[in-house]
Subunit: 166 residues, 2 copies
């Protein structure tokens, strides 16, 4: 518990990410499947974010993953759109297409429908492509709430990016 | 005032757009500058929207407008990024790049900074590229509230699309 009136208010993840990017003079972009643009929306809620947000690609259909992000169709066939290799290829493709220093990607099953035993609703893969390599993770929100799954995934992606910004 | 318990609840714009697109078996995509992904986020809040949302491009930087959406650099230089010709080129570029039937674009000054006498904060151009031509409009929200300007612009874009879906 904290009663100190001088305590700094907790800043939102998108503000913290923005402050780090500004301090580092680095740029960011997004490649979103199941979050559907929410990460870009959150990043651009911050005044002045045009200094470091170059843009994003919402790749809902596999055709957009292939044609705009350059995800190899063989990867989509072999692993499926909701997989770690595809998350990695999306982030790296966005980093190239948007010419940014850091790119965040998310691919998953937002629900409420579309789940399978192997890939249940709430399963999400996230990747961050950086100048020093690409980092990824798997998450399972164990929920069929579409909006909540989108928001949790967006926040997890921003956290993964923040961790790489030092 | 309406007391009738059988009254249908008012559906959100994104649900109404989705229902029309499903009925017409048509697809949609977005090209967003100042709304920063919010339109794609709203469209993909609707369960089952992957049937008609192919994707979107958040083109915050001019380089992304040029390289991903194919907006001619001469148009950006002559009219500026916040202009009707650029809104039209963004929508038509997204229709091509995402291979969709309908593409919505927004370019404007979300604020709170970045306004000029000619292009004040709250000024927005919106376009919808369709199979039968491209339609556009200018809006001025007369507000420096960034979040509100984004939301009003997103709703106006969805309204403009809905009007073209018959």
């Amino acid at each position: 518990m904290q009663d100190d009136k001088t305590t700094t208010p907790v800043e939102s993840l998108e503000v913290r990410v923005g402050n780090r990017l500004k301090a580092l003079r680095r740029t960011v972009g997004t490649a979103e499947s199941c979050t559907g643009g929410l990460i870009a929306h959150l990043l651009t809620e911050v005044p002045g974010s045009s200094a470091y947000v170059m843009g994003g690609i919402v790749a809902y259909a596999n055709s957009v993953k292939e044609q705009v992000l350059g995800v190899p169709s063989a990867l989509l066939i072999q692993h499926g759109a909701v997989s770690e290799p595809v998350a990695i290829a999306m982030a790296e493709g966005a980093r190239r297409a948007l010419r940014v220093d850091y790119a965040i990607s998310v691919t998953g099953v937002a629900g409420p429908g579309g789940g399978t035993p192997d890939k249940p609703v709430g399963l999400v893969y996230i990747a961050v492509a950086t100048p020093s390599g690409t980092f990824s993770g798997m998450y399972n929100w164990h929920s069929t709430d579409r909006s909540a799954n989108k928001l949790k995934s967006a926040e997890a992606a921003l956290m993964l990016l923040l961790g790489r910004l030092g």
